[in-house]
Subunit: 351 residues, 4 copies
């Protein structure tokens, strides 16, 4: 049975696997201090046009979020995010385990606005008992969001500006960053969000590998000078310092090299996912089904009659995404670098 | 200027101060193992009719909540509570500092229902990704709530039943417990909530002293056998083990002795607060002002025109409780054991 | 039976109790923002000759240590201290509960040296794997130490200098500070350690009340500008923000007022304890018993034959302090503001 | 330059890489619930002869230690271990970050004894102030230890017995487990420690992959029924739940399959390391150099003259292991599955 359950149903892109095989018997020192990590860092910095950034490689998303947030906040501070934010809704309280409250903001589409941030911060300090509540200490957003939506460049500019004004570091979770960037390019054209934009607008963000075609791995980029110090201690404490760190370096080398010879693999892989998702979306629109969250990325959330969902269950893999009304529920189809034309045609024919 | 800002504007009831003076030069050992604490524990157990309960004395409410919750939960568990719950809204993230997420439930009156608890737990375990979210591990309610409302006995029975069914210890924050009990008696009569009811329905609760006429102090009652073990380690770790523990014992002795000779001081002090609050409430009703939260306890939350609030500001002490619309805001008047007839008459004449 | 088990066997000095009675019915706002706390802060700042210091009042020692250390350290940092340090040996892991390792240094007399600190820090950064170990982030010392010993002014100067050189805030636990200051004056004369010395040499320290004659309370003094910001959030989160904060203010007012009219009560109470301890010490020397730790403060640690200890047990209260050899153990006698000539004479006659 | 710096200088054993390539385009669900993980669990359970054990796959050692320890302890408990234990000395305070004190016991060879554990626990509960100190809640040992030494079966039996008697779960860190098992077989013969022995004697242990020839991965085995519940929540919270969990399953399948057809790869890889290490050890003995820690595993710790170390530095990779006296230091050579005869001959010729 074909699976559209997630973007991590396969291993890694074959070019990544080849390189891991090629480099397998090289001897290197550990913990990210090897030549592959060094080169990967340079490639990432070139791609984001931020030569002074610090780049670190961690293993997974929950770990990355917990490590970054722990490194930024003081003990009495919390992190602002959408109620749907991964750190609030899907990480088994990893942020709280590290001592910090997630300060969730209401959202319908997975996004939060500059105005919400400003209002929250202003309300906090206007309260007579402000020291009795958790101080907002940073902002977390996802690009794309957990509902597959993306911020426009203007929205990110506004969020970045209010964060800067209020002294809150802005952290962008890029677990699916490539999908967001390609979708932004398709939707916004010349106004699309780019990697250099993120380096310019965020204090810290990460370029996700796990859900983008790597075996695993997330590249944390720190541009705010004040957040750079001693970050490797945080990585080690959080369990993210891979002994064979070069595995991360090798993968990011493959994904980010060759920018001068066309699209880097990181974006090329994402582009396939978006192209395939668009086909699925078109088929669903053609069938007249609505969406839980309209979005241009690699997650498609149609709302289907329960009977139709029951019919599809044994035929193709997807995830349930919650009941919508007495007779309808949302489900999720996800595409990736590995999604083929045949697989999508098969899915469409099933629908 | 008279203060109605809180129920801790004065020191302690004179009988408590007298006893502290009388016992001041007694020599005792520390950390709650002295004869005063021992006797106070017996008096509390008699009052709640739970001879097998464990009773511990801590210093303040935030500390008590953090200590109890830390002692009950496993690391991946959180505590269900109303969004207005003190642990969620007024303790600077003390629960998260101890590693646990506060799982807030929506409320308009400060209360949560058995159905909300049941639905949350059922939804958690029905989710395919349940291990990716914080497991509900206990329930926190306040009596009275932060909005001064109280649960009926039937509501508490239902909450207790669902907690028992779902395996969630029920923790009741009784920072203002006496006010709630007296108000319940006045509203419900024979169906009122009593101390023995709480001992029967909760797994752990506390009988607040700080806001009830003691200098400070909270008496934690643990009736669930499984939660008793090693609790004193938790108290010490949380900073709540007062060296001169006898100060807590002496105060609870005074507040709980003499049950056979009329109303114990703990309830008598609360009764005065309720009587005075009723007078204020009646005056506000007479003026035609609405309330933010209708309630029968010692906190009164009228909604007044901003101009009226501005007029009152220099005349009497109260707290702002948030804007209601463009021209009205809620404020809070609080009464206590120390509130006199003259003070209330003066306030009413100002209104 | 007379107790020499600790310096918190009685309530508070009568002058403190009187003032609590006098102020009992005053109305004040809470959480340390009342006029008594304000005045007490000014008195403390005058006594330590540090007009720019921040002064905060907390309830107990474990809480104070946990709050200060949590406010100073980054997550991957630990606190250097003697292996006998209270935070390492007697607080049920409160520092670790807050996320930080206690980095203990060997000691025989309860003290650590500037050289130990320097060597530890140098060794940490010289290690190839330094990011794999906890970074020393601050230094904790006690004055007097848990063995009753005191640092000379020269030793404190050296420790302060190395802390400054290495960028480690110096935190001094003054749970029994007054006893240390009076003992220093007696031993060192003109070279004695004074309150202004501590304000000059430490980044943060506290002036203990609980073990010095107050009912309870510890006054935290922060002189390092970088450590002042948002400290009240830390206090609230740690459960140390007493609702009736004025109780702490009133006590410190009494203990620190009247510097122009002779010795402040804080030091006068300590002086009595030292005078009485000296008498006990002299009697033990006369009997030919050795000491576990020779010290000039209010804790006396004689080593006695087990048979002698058994004989004394039913006659007078003291604490066991561990076996020394097959036939001898150390015990501890403690004096305080409340220790009378008669009590000491009785103890000496028992010996 | 050849590296003998660690056992993670190469990628993974070629058979593992082949299988990852073969399975790369299979579609599976994530988070360890795929068929490869299921089969790997069965293979591991067969190898350890514990059909009722729970087996979980995590990514790295620090993460595994933090996750297991967090899942076992109550908040006021600590973990007993050797002062040299990895959790005490090389994980940047990950255990303390999770809220727990590491209770270190003195050691010269990296091992602790049953007597040390018994004495510590007895002393804790004999102390009058036991609630003021961290309660020992579990025991952590490493096999082999951080100094390469191994416990005999009799020693493990004794430790297990005292842990059982005192109610302390026994956790064995097997980051280099295979090396220990092969060395035990060589040294002890019929009395060697085996995988089934560990399953019988420990409450929880892990079978390390990262340092044993896998790309990465650690297999946690839980045999104590009381520790099994909800462990996956702990994994997710600690960042150890790999999205592409099948990568771990595939690797453990390769390492543990084929027990009926000769030695499983897991042990075969370790055997090579031990054989190569023995050659290096013999050469060092022949040269007359002493060892920092005599041991039979894959880490060799010779003590060399500083001049000799300086001579070797540019010729071969090794780690410094600390100064021994004014003219000598210890260094470390490590072998692995990937160490060839040629490499060892070259090293020996350099010596």
């Amino acid at each position: 049975m074909r699976l559209f359950t997630s973007d991590y149903t396969e291993g890694a892109h074959p070019r990544i696997m080849e390189r891991l095989i090629e480099t397998n018997l090289e001897q290197t020192i550990g913990y990210g201090e090897d030549p592959h990590c060094a080169r990967a860092r340079e490639l990432v910095k070139a791609a984001i046009q931020a030569p002074d950034a610090d780049v670190h490689f961690l293993v997974g998303g929950t770990q990355t979020n917990a490590t970054v947030i722990s490194s930024v906040l003081r003990p009495y501070q919390g992190v602002l995010c959408a109620s749907t934010g991964h750190i609030n809704a899907h990480e088994t309280g990893a942020i709280e385990h590290g001592g910090h409250k997630v300060l969730s903001l209401p959202t319908t589409d997975g996004k939060i606005s500059a105005a919400q941030i400003r209002d929250y911060v202003d309300a906090h300090f206007a309260d007579e008992s402000f020291e009795h509540t958790v101080q907002p200490g940073m902002v977390y957003i996802s690009f794309p969001t957990e509902l597959g939506t993306i911020y426009s460049l203007a929205e990110l500019e506004e969020i970045s500006a209010v964060c800067h004004e209020k002294g809150l570091p802005l952290f962008l979770d890029g677990a699916r960053l490539g999908y967001g960037l390609i979708a932004s390019e398709m939707v916004e054209g010349a106004d699309a969000v780019t990697l250099p934009d993120l380096a310019r607008l965020c204090d810290v963000f990460y370029i996700g590998g796990t859900k983008q075609g790597a075996l695993f791995g997330e590249a944390v980029v720190i541009t705010n000078e004040a957040l750079k110090k001693d970050f490797r201690y945080n990585i080690k404490q959080g369990g993210g310092m891979l002994a064979k760190g070069r595995l991360l370096g090798v993968q990011y080398e493959v994904m980010f090299e060759g920018a001068d010879a066309g699209e880097i693999l990181y974006l090329a892989m994402a582009r396939n996912a978006i192209v395939q998702a668009e086909k699925i979306r078109a088929a669903i629109v053609a069938k007249g089904y609505p969406f839980l969250a309209e979005n241009p990325t690699n997650q498609v959330f149609p709302i289907l009659p329960d009977a139709e969902i029951a019919r599809l269950r044994p035929l193709v893999g997807f995830e349930g995404w919650g009941r919508v009304d007495a007779e309808h529920s949302a489900i999720r189809f996800v595409t990736s670098w590995a999604t083929t034309d045949e697989a999508v045609e098969e899915l469409i024919s099933l629908l």
